[in-house]
Symmetry: C2
């Protein structure tokens, strides 16, 4: 383990807030492995580059010998609010939650070290919590403190309903910090209030309160909104290399400084050199973006895949050729073939309605020519290259 | 059972609010015995004349064949809030709660019919309620609805803390209405919001919501505040006849109209005749108050006790004599006698500190003469009449 001041320096890179500021240094000075909590809400399948900003910080802790404690919020994710559907997320089944959790943990394993790592499911302590305990927990904080949370304050101001149930979620998630005895909790900068609630709950149970550490939010490929799966402006850490590279190439130029700093592991000096080079005109933005694309692919795949992803990108977009390695897909027995169904079978779309919309928009091509019909003679599909949008290809056999 | 319109007429006497107004008539028209809920919080031992206003209404329902459903809030009374001691009531032990509940139910039995009557303890359904059920329950209402409750609104405005726990109490008590399938819930007029919460919770569980019926609040003997045990401005339904009569005689004259209407069972015409007689000067206020005293004693004891209580009152206050029947109390062996201890033994005070305070105030008399010392020669006490305050007497033997 490096000396505490050296650890602190490494851990504070790119950090948005440490609250309270001095307590992280105090804990590091104790010289023991800290327990660093990260909660994950298994309500969507992918791990995005936005999430990875926090995960890579967690990995930095691991590299210094501290324990990553992942809390899978399986219990909280299963509790929906049928009376307030429009305002809150829907209730997920246990199977959906498990599916998402496994998928997300798979993504995490691309970033975190396998050790020291603890994975805990919060149903372990929440599902069996009894009435008396819940009432005790709910006495940890006040209504006024709850209403300081930005989204609650906004909804009260706009007279949109907040279910009393929603006041219990932050307490339950705060209790996770008690259950795992967290020293530090990590999150995005929009999670600061929640992380501080963990402190409040720990204090209620007579425990030394954790340090809250937040990371900046990465903007999505649209350059406007926080990266999120529901807005479909994301890059997932397990996206195929070519897809990953292509998505990075699609971001607006002015997003590059943030992505260089938060989405790569380039040393700060190198990132800043590229960023200022672009600003001064000595580096071409397209070149800078290609390098960004390679750095991102390198991080989640390897050097070779990065080079190959760039070459594949060039074949399709610069040289206007089809990609070299197009997957084959066995065409279903039918003539004519109903294209929305086979596009779904082939995994090129997520629903037949998406397929129909793309066909209507002229975004589906057969050997480079736009398709306008949903039903296509089988003979014209066999052996042909099908392209959906810019980057999805398949060859029917 | 009388016809529904006749029932309605009898039930609406003295009522403050029925909400929603038309639904009581609808339920009565169904011709079945209604389930009429009354919650009791076992946090104090006595049943006051204030409480009796609501209880007598419940008895009217019983007399018409409807079922009185008493909910003993044993579970809710046991949950305290250690973090907000100053704001909320302290946590009671199971034994204290049971003791208060038994004492209160004893008082109730002076008013209610033994049948049709159901007594339910809410720990039956609340103690075993699991996390998922509690979260479901908490989704029944919104933060905004909670903050409409007068005391919460006040505390928010004054920036005094409200624990999140306090948001759960009304939901738990509302769930009592689900558990017992209440048709109607009774309460004091300050309980209207709580009774309507019962409706909200029943609706959340797909149940037809109860009718809320509130009774006016009886002012205490001070003529200023709501009658309450914590303010010691109350008459208990099991006070001894002489004590009961004496307390009624101590109320301010302007309180008589309210007490005639709410604290007696005199027919409305008779009450109004006395009230207007006093207003017009044809009835002397002191005579009106004596009659009020007799009516109250008659209600909880009988005619004979009422007459005797008035006579005892006259001997002490009008004729300045000691009461005829003074209980004997065997003096403990000691010389000199420490008076605070024996006053406590004799049940004239509730603590030795109260005794010391009363002695210091000159409120303790030995054969009519003020005592100023706490230690008194045994000989001067034996056979003597001891008077504490206006109405407490004992003879030491």
């Amino acid at each position: 383990m490096p000396e505490p001041p050296e650890q602190l320096k490494r851990l504070l890179v790119n950090v948005d807030r440490v609250a309270p500021e001095d307590e992280l240094a105090e804990r590091l000075a104790e010289g023991r492995p800290l327990r660093v909590k990260l909660g994950l809400d298994p309500t969507a399948p992918s791990v995005t580059l936005g999430w990875a900003v926090v995960l890579r910080k967690l990995r930095h802790f691991q590299e210094l010998g501290h324990t990553a404690v992942l809390i899978v919020g399986d219990f909280t994710a299963q509790v929906g609010d049928p009376s307030l559907m429009a305002e809150t997320r829907r209730r997920l089944t246990a199977e959906e939650v498990r599916g998402y959790a496994e998928s997300v943990l798979g993504g995490f394993s691309r970033i975190l070290l396998p050790d020291p790592l603890e994975i805990r499911w919060n149903s372990e302590w929440l599902a069996s919590m009894d009435m008396e305990h819940i009432l005790e927990l709910s006495s940890a904080t006040t209504v006024a403190q709850m209403l300081e949370r930005a989204d609650f304050a906004e909804r009260m101001a706009e007279q949109r309903p907040i279910s009393v149930l929603e006041f219990l979620y932050p307490l339950l998630q705060g209790y996770d910090s008690v259950a795992v005895e967290a020293d530090v909790e990590l999150g995005g900068s929009d999670q600061l209030w929640n992380l501080l609630m963990g402190r409040t709950v720990q204090q209620r149970y007579g425990m030394r309160p954790q340090v809250a550490m937040t990371m900046p939010l990465l903007l999505g490929t649209d350059g406007v909104n926080k990266m999120s799966q529901s807005l479909d402006n994301y890059v997932a850490v397990d996206d195929a290399p070519a897809d990953m590279f292509g998505k990075v190439m699609s971001i607006p130029d002015d997003l590059m400084p943030q992505w260089y700093r938060l989405a790569t592991e380039l040393p700060a000096e190198e990132s800043e050199a590229v960023i200022s080079g672009v600003a001064e005109g000595s580096v071409h933005p397209a070149e800078a973006k290609r390098r960004l694309g390679r750095e991102v692919v390198r991080l989640y795949w390897d050097d070779e895949e990065a080079v190959e992803a760039e070459a594949a990108f060039d074949r399709v977009f610069r040289d206007r050729k089809s990609p070299e390695e197009v997957p084959d897909h066995a065409l279903r027995e039918a003539d004519p073939v109903h294209l929305p169904g086979v596009l779904l079978d082939a995994g090129l779309v997520t629903s037949t309605s998406e397929a129909r919309r793309l066909i209507a928009q002229g975004a589906v091509k057969l050997d480079g020519a736009r398709l306008t019909e949903e039903d296509v003679p089988r003979a014209s599909l066999l052996g042909a290259l099908i392209q959906v949008g810019k980057r999805r290809f398949v060859r029917f056999v």
